[in-house]
C-alpha cells in the first residue's frame, strides 16, 4: 500500500479527492472552496493602507488561512515521507523542447534551472517568478477567484460566469506556454 502511495497518483484518484473538498468544506462549516482569497486576507491583515477593498474583518475569514497552512503542511508531508524520490516523468516532446532552453532537471517538481535561489536573479527566472506571481495575484482577484473558486467550486454550482473565467484562465495559459514562454525561456 505504502509503495503505491509513493508512486505518482493517477488523475482518477487525485481528481475525485479534490472534488470531495467541495462538500467537505460545505459540510464542515458552510465554507466555499476558494484559495486565492487568502492573498486578499493577507493584504487586509498586513497592509490594508486604507484601501476600501482591504477594509473588512479578515479574522472572520481565518478558516482560509488555516486551510492554506494545511496545504503547506501537506506538501511537506508528501515530499518528506510519501515520495519515492524518482524523477518526474515528462512528455518526450516537452523534454526535448526544454532541453533547447538548457532545462534538463526533472528530479524536482519544478526545474531547478528556473526555480532555485541561485537562479532567481537570472533574467528569465526573475520574470517567471516575480512577474508570474504578480499576474497570479492580480488576475485571480480581478477575476474574483482562481482554479478552485471558479473552475471547481463555481462550475460545481453551475455558475456560467465561472465558466467564462475558466475559459479565460485556459486561454491565457495557452498563449503564455505556446507563444510567449519560448521568448522568456531563451533569455
Amino acid at each position: 500500500m505504502i509503495e503505491l502511495i509513493k508512486k505518482p497518483w493517477p488523475w482518477y484518484v487525485a481528481g475525485p479527492l479534490i472534488g470531495l473538498i467541495v462538500p467537505a468544506l460545505l459540510l464542515l462549516g458552510n465554507k466555499h472552496f476558494g484559495i486565492s482569497a487568502n492573498l486578499r486576507h493577507i493584504c487586509a491583515a498586513c497592509f490594508p493602507a486604507n484601501i476600501p477593498f482591504f477594509q473588512y474583518n479578515w479574522k472572520k475569514e481565518i478558516w482560509n488561512l488555516f486551510f492554506v497552512g494545511g496545504i503547506l503542511t501537506g506538501g511537506y508531508i508528501a515530499a518528506q515521507w510519501l515520495s519515492d524520490g524518482n524523477a518526474v516523468s515528462i512528455a518526450p516532446a516537452l523534454a526535448s523542447e526544454l532541453r533547447s532552453y538548457n532545462i534538463t532537471d526533472t528530479q524536482h517538481l519544478l526545474p531547478q534551472e528556473i526555480f532555485s535561489w541561485e537562479h532567481l536573479l537570472t533574467l528569465r527566472s526573475f520574470i517567471l517568478l516575480v512577474v508570474g506571481g504578480f499576474l497570479v495575484g492580480f488576475g485571480t482577484r480581478y477575476a474574483g477567484g482562481c482554479t478552485s473558486g471558479h473552475a471547481i467550486m463555481g462550475l460545481s454550482n453551475l455558475q456560467w460566469p465561472s465558466l467564462v473565467a475558466t475559459i479565460c484562465f485556459m486561454a491565457g495559459g495557452f498563449v503564455m506556454a505556446n507563444v510567449l514562454l519560448p521568448f522568456i525561456l531563451n533569455l
Binding site: N30, G74, S116, G133, R141, A151, V164
Partner: protein, 159 residues
C-alpha cells in the same frame, strides 16, 4: 461598486451569520488542507512540468484531474441542495449566485498567463513551498503584491 459584485470569496462580509474564529474550530480546515496538499504533491499537480504539458496538449493528466474534480463537485453540490442537509454545526449550507463582470475575462486572462509562467495557481503555491522549493516564497510575495495592487487600482479598472 461593492465587493458583492466582484468577489465571492469573502463570505463573512455578505452574511450576518456568526463566524467561529477559535483555533480549535478552524483546525478542521487545516486537516482538509493537509489532505489537499498531499494530493497536490503526490499527483504532481503542483509540478511546473504538468502545467506545461497541459497547455501544450501533451498530456491528459491535468484535464483528467480538473474534469473529474468538477464532476464530483457538481454531484456533491446537487446532492447537498437536493437533500437540504445542514453543516455539522447545524448551520444551513448556502450558495450565492455569481454575476458576470469584465474582470472574469481580463483578470482570467492575466491569471492564465501567470499560471503558465509559475506552474501554480494559489493553492499549489503553498504546496510547492511546503514540498521544499522555498524560492516559491518569492512567487507568493509577488502574488500578494499583485492582489494589493488590484485592491489599490480597483475603482479605476473596468468591471
Amino acid at each position: 461598486m461593492s465587493d458583492k459584485i466582484t468577489d465571492y470569496e469573502v463570505q463573512s462580509s455578505e452574511s450576518s451569520m456568526p463566524v467561529n474564529t477559535s483555533t480549535m474550530h478552524n483546525l478542521r480546515y487545516a486537516l482538509v488542507g493537509i489532505v489537499f496538499g498531499i494530493v497536490f504533491v503526490r499527483a504532481e499537480i503542483v509540478s511546473w512540468f504538468r502545467i506545461q504539458e497541459m497547455f501544450r496538449l501533451q498530456s491528459f493528466h491535468m484535464y483528467g484531474v480538473i474534469g473529474s474534480a468538477v464532476l464530483v463537485g457538481m454531484i456533491s453540490v446537487w446532492l447537498i441542495k437536493k437533500s437540504g442537509v445542514k453543516a455539522i454545526d447545524g448551520m444551513p449550507v448556502t450558495f450565492q449566485p455569481k454575476k458576470f463582470h469584465k474582470g472574469q475575462i481580463f483578470g482570467g486572462l492575466m491569471f492564465g498567463l501567470g499560471w503558465a509562467m509559475t506552474g501554480a495557481c494559489p493553492g499549489p503555491l503553498f504546496a510547492q513551498i511546503g514540498s521544499g522549493v522555498t524560492v516559491v516564497l518569492v512567487v507568493l510575495l509577488s502574488a500578494v503584491a499583485g492582489t494589493w495592487m488590484y485592491g489599490y487600482l480597483k475603482e479605476k479598472l473596468p468591471h
